[in-house]
């Protein structure tokens, strides 16, 4: 079975390292980006399509909603499930992301990393 790929967009490098490490420990291939722009650029310009996208909401220069809309607007990418994992519980963020097509919206501080990783793995492995 092919290794599932997770594209991570997280502007906090410490968190990004923890997430990336944990996902790798769980046997997933990760592609890490600090900004939405760089992640989108990668997605649009490479033939690599991740099985799932781990998306922080508040990103430099754009929101998770913006990011999802860009992904969903691309026919090649629109099938990729996007899970928003953020510390922001703002209604605008939650409803915006869900409306744009997010698979789920999870709060970081409320979950153990293990839980989140298992959730992501499960979604990624569905394919």
């Amino acid at each position: 079975m092919e290794t599932s790929r997770v594209l991570i967009v997280e502007d906090d490098p410490i968190l990004l390292k923890a997430i990336s490490e944990k996902l790798k420990l769980a046997g997933l291939e990760t592609f890490s980006f600090y900004t939405g722009e760089s992640a989108l650029e990668y997605l649009f310009e490479t033939k690599v399509t991740p099985n799932v996208i781990w998306l922080d909401y508040h990103l430099p220069g754009m929101t998770g909603t913006d990011f999802i809309k860009r992904v969903k607007a691309n026919s090649k990418l629109k099938g990729i499930p996007v899970v928003v994992i953020s510390n922001s519980a703002e209604e605008k963020a939650v409803s915006g992301a869900i409306a744009a097509g997010a698979e789920a919206y999870l709060l970081k501080a409320e979950h153990r990393l293990e839980e989140l990783v298992q959730n992501i793995k499960m979604i990624a492995d569905r394919r």
Binding site: K22, E90, E91, A109, L113
Partner: protein
């Protein structure tokens, strides 16, 4: 009683008739006066003429008598005999007798030569008077007459002569009687014809033989410019009067002329017209006076007559007045036997009728009077009561004054309140605005009064104002909310407004009282606070999450197996970190609740399921403390529209508290019952309880009971505050009972109708 300008009937009659009488009298007097003068003058003339004529006759007869005397005596036998014998001295006694008997001046006789041979006046003896015309006349036969000054006596005399004839009818002498002119005119002198009249005896040639004015004597009429009179004499036929203008004194005079017999003498009477007029005037005056007197008498008679006629009328007036004064039984005393008496009798009869009526009335009045006396007593009592009331009113006035002072203070307070306060009439026209209105809107009070608050409003959608007016005017309810307004300088601001209608007794809107507070700054601060919290939460949570996850990986052995001790220490770090995360979450929730930005998203909820979910969530903690939980939930609980996240917070917080503040092996009871309108939840524990002195602070933010701070360090004092905020925002109630050392019971209700959807910006974090 008398009308103004009252004039008695008597005065009217007398004054009017008197006027007529006086006018007639004056006319009569005038006519009579002038007629009388004319009549009197004419009569005087006629009288003068008659008188003068009469006197002329008298004079003539006087002459005639003397003529007869001279004729008789010249023919006397003795005279003739003695003359014939030239025995003249014997004649003298006869002549003396004649003279004395007739008071002649002298009687004498001349011989045929004219020599005086015998005379009663001795001075004449031997005087020859043959030159005298009377001598010549006597010689010619008949009686000679002459009026002349005596050549010896130089006195005016009237001479009468007659020849003495002898038996042969031969003239032997002439007898002469000299009569004094005074004698002739004596009657004139003593005449009472009238004073001032000047009698004259004038010869036909104009010689004035007699006048009572000496200067005229023996002068001619022409000497006094009476030529006109002389002309009349010369053409005399009958007695006449003639008007002469006296050239000397410029007065008109009247001359009355009459011839004395057929002699050469004329009797003249010169009368002054002034005297005539005066006499006539006095006569006319007497007549006029008589007429005037008659007039006055007429007026007096009229006065008396009217007085007598009208007196009954006056009596009638007095009688009526006495009736009016209440002497209704008096009888009239009028006895005029006319209409007045008739009227008085009728009035008397009428008064008697009234009297009869009055006596009936009097009885009634007496009855009423006694009634009135009763009423007066009652009124006295009322008056006393009123006096008491007035005293009370005085007291009330003092109270009113105090109130007015208080009202003044109140006005000062309102005037200077920092909130914008406006009072409008029912049509929103501004009647009052305090200083803050000007400060906030930028319009002066003068610009505001009489306008409507739309002066600074009109910034909201039309629907808002429609709803707003419907609330305050039609539903007559207060309105509270936030409104965007616009200052005079165009700057928009947000105001928190509260408008209340003031109703009168019948429930009509009389005024609106509006209070506005400019919350622009507060809003701005709030926005900044929210932004800060949002930012802070994000910024705090990120490192907390990093700590959480790395601890987790360490504990999981991702970085290699940890020693037992390392594991224990790291667990402590993990717990502290979890508390930190919880605290941040709670702070966020509180700030969200407070800012009202929380989203309420009700969904049909099975409460039993929700509660069981919460119990299972806290299960590890229960087990940890070896505690038991008993639940009793209403069997037929319906699905209720609830925001599960919020309600979960309520149950979670209350249960967590119970677990936290109950010693090990304690019990927790949860009872949920369905009531008529709501769901009542009771959560009891056997914990430490809440000290009495802290009970009123239980729901305060950041409060933690003094007794549990040492026992249980975990806790941030935000849980119950959040619970109360959620319950009350859901139209529910929350309360508790607690005894220190025995336990605590919380109750809260949620309406069966559930929660209302509310748009918001954030959800509650767990």
């Amino acid at each position: 009683m008398l009308p103004s300008g009252f004039t008695s009937l008597k005065s009217k009659i007398i004054s009017r008739f008197s006027l007529v009488i006086v006018i007639v009298g004056i006319l009569t007097v005038s006519i009579v006066f002038f007629l009388s003068i004319k009549q009197s003058t004419d009569q005087t003339k006629k009288y003068l003429l008659d008188s003068v004529q009469e006197k002329s006759y008298e004079l003539q007869s006087y002459f005639e008598r003397t003529k007869r005397k001279v004729l008789v005596y010249s023919g006397k036998e003795l005279v003739v005999d003695q003359f014939s014998k030239k025995n003249y001295s014997l004649v003298l006694p006869t002549l003396e007798l004649l003279k004395d008997a007739n008071e002649y001046m002298a009687v004498y006789a001349m011989d045929a030569t004219g020599r005086t041979v015998v005379s009663t006046d001795p001075r004449f003896l031997d005087q020859n008077f043959s030159f005298r015309s009377y001598f010549a006349q006597a010689l010619n036969g008949g009686v000679g007459t002459e009026q002349n000054l005596g050549s010896v006596s130089n006195e005016l005399g009237f001479y009468f002569s007659h020849a003495i004839y002898n038996k042969d009818q031969k003239i032997i002498g002439v007898l002469v009687i000299k009569q004094s002119a005074d004698k002739y005119v004596e009657f004139i002198k003593t005449s009472h014809l009238f004073s001032g009249a000047k009698p004259m005896l004038v010869k036909s040639d104009g010689t004035i033989l007699y006048s009572n004015i000496d200067q005229r004597l023996l002068k001619n009429l022409t000497d006094f410019e009476y030529g006109k009179v002389l002309a009349e004499i010369k053409s005399y036929t009958a007695p006449l009067t003639i008007d002469v203008d006296d050239e000397l004194d410029k007065k008109q005079e009247l001359f009355t002329i009459s011839r004395v017999g057929d002699s050469d003498l004329f009797f003249l009477l010169e009368s002054n017209y002034d005297a005539i007029y005066a006499r006539a005037g006095s006569f006319a005056g007497i007549i006029s006076a008589t007429v005037a007197l008659t007039t006055i008498i007429c007026i007096i008679i009229l006065y008396l007559g009217v007085q007598k006629t009208l007196n009954p009328l006056k009596q009638l007036g007095e009688y009526v007045a006495s009736l009016e004064q209440g002497n209704t039984k008096s009888k009239h005393q009028i006895n005029s036997k006319d209409e007045i008496e008739q009227a008085a009798s009728l009035i008397q009869h009428f008064a008697e009728s009234i009297n009869g009526f009055n006596s009936q009335l009097e009885q009634k009045v007496q009855a009423k009077t006694s009634e009135l006396n009763e009423r007066v007593k009652e009124l006295e009592a009322t008056k006393t009561a009123m006096v008491n009331v007035f005293q009370d009113l005085d007291d009330q006035k003092i109270i009113s004054d105090i109130r007015a002072q208080e009202l003044q203070k109140f006005k000062l307070a309102v005037d200077n309140a920092s909130d914008h306060i406006v009072i409008t009439d029912a049509n929103a026209n501004i009647l009052y605005a305090n200083q803050s209105v000007s400060n906030i809107t930028g319009y002066s009070r003068d610009e505001i009064i009489g306008k409507t608050p739309s002066l600074w409003g009109k910034q909201m959608p039309d629907e808002f104002y429609k709803m707003f007016w419907d609330t305050i005017k039609n539903k007559k309810q207060s309105f509270a909310g936030e409104v965007t307004n616009k200052r005079k300088n165009g700057e928009k601001y947000v105001a928190s407004v509260s408008i209340a209608p003031v109703l009168n007794k019948v429930g009509e809107v009389v005024f609106f009282v509006g209070i506005e507070r400019d919350v622009t700054k507060a809003k701005e601060i709030d926005r900044m606070k929210t932004e800060f919290i949002s930012l802070a939460s994000h910024q705090l949570r990120t490192p907390l999450t990093a700590i959480k996850w790395y601890i987790e990986m360490l504990l999981n052995g991702d970085a290699g197996k940890l020693s037992k001790e390392q594991l224990a220490f790291l667990t402590q770090v993990d717990e502290s970190n979890e508390r930190m995360i919880s605290l941040v979450n709670s702070l966020l929730n509180v700030s969200r609740i407070e800012s009202g930005r929380i989203l309420v998203e009700p969904k049909p909820t099975d409460l039993k399921q929700l509660i069981n979910g919460v119990i299972s969530e806290v299960q590890p903690k229960l087990q940890q403390k070896n505690m038991s939980i008993i639940t009793d939930i209403h069997q037929e609980m319906p699905l209720i529209n609830l925001d599960q996240n919020l309600v979960r917070q309520v149950y979670l917080n209350l249960l967590t508290n119970s677990i936290k503040y109950t010693p090990d092996k304690g019990e927790i009871h949860i009872f949920v019952s369905k009531r008529k309108d709501d769901i009542l939840t009771q959560i009891s524990d056997t914990g430490y309880g809440i000290p009495d002195k802290d009970k009123d602070k239980v729901f305060s933010k950041l409060y933690r009971g003094e007794n549990i701070v040492q026992i249980e360090t975990d806790g941030n004092g935000l849980g119950l505050y959040l619970v109360k905020a959620i319950v009350e925002s859901s139209k529910g109630k929350i309360w508790f009972e607690s005894a220190e050392g025995k336990g605590t019971t919380f109750w809260f209700t949620l309406p069966l109708t559930g929660m209302k959807y509310k748009k918001g910006e954030v959800r509650i974090d767990s």
